[in-house]
Symmetry: C2
Subunit: 146 residues, 2 copies
Amino acid sequence: MRVSTKGRYALRMLVDLAEYQGEGYIALKDIAKRQEISKKYLEQIVPVLNKSRILQTNRGFQGGYRLAVSPEKITMGEVLRLTEGSLSPLACIDDDKYIECSRREDCSTLYVWQGLKKVIDGYLDGITLQDILEHKRESYSNDYVI
Amino acid sequence: MRVSTKGRYALRMLVDLAEYQGEGYIALKDIAKRQEISKKYLEQIVPVLNKSRILQTNRGFQGGYRLAVSPEKITMGEVLRLTEGSLSPLACIDDDKYIECSRREDCSTLYVWQGLKKVIDGYLDGITLQDILEHKRESYSNDYVI
DNA sequence: CCTTAACCTACCAATATTGTAGTTTATTAT
DNA sequence: ATAATAAACTACAATATTGGTAGGTTAAGG
């Protein structure tokens, strides 16, 4: 149940871009240095993010990346869905990579896994890059105390 | 962010045991057949569950397993924590396998990961084997609709 | 003492993870 | 033009995890 470095680095890269927003294009080199992440590895993460239209890029001198959308319009759920493939805890409730299961009708646990997915999606889709910049957690997670 | 077969099989094994509770000891062979899971693989999952006192076992003729506690006292969180090691999405917020991170003080995302863990823990700790038998989802997950 | 079934140990193939390394292409300043 | 810069692309690889299989050992009951 771990989130891979790919997802975590992607999130940190985007938060970094959000922070230095308005300073033109930011080179990967600078993000890599600030975030202490291998630049070469970040290079591999960028094309994954580019499946969606999150980034604007410019090559060459003073090139780099910047956010194509404002930070309050990019959710953690969106970022992780791009990098992790899906946030579904099981393949049998995955929209993209759905794998047929012969026991589906019988399965007494399917129900609760769907519930888990719903809870995870709900939380992550409620947090934006802007929220992270402002260092605030989703209200609903704070309210949820037994 | 996938739950491994180990965790899923463990849960299904325990739900199966809960269902056939009161019929004495249930042989792994029977669980394996009903659940269509390799018996040999289940054999490896049992000792993991036995880190906690969930099961009673008996060897030899008419031996097998049964629940040591009633189904409403065993939560999904407990089962998955045993098999998956921890439900924490990152090592830096793991109680057992905590890994030191030099960026901890700086980390602007730590916050939201902690929130995620809280949401996952909260959901899974609220569901018991009995709930699964009765095919009902936690009320809070049903309430959570936008 | 024979059958049953849990228990234990070793091994293994496939895949995912977490990178490194080197080359190529596009952009801009001089 | 051309040199510098930085993204983009491709290939490789060590390591860990996953998802098992195989075989032998121990305990309990009839």
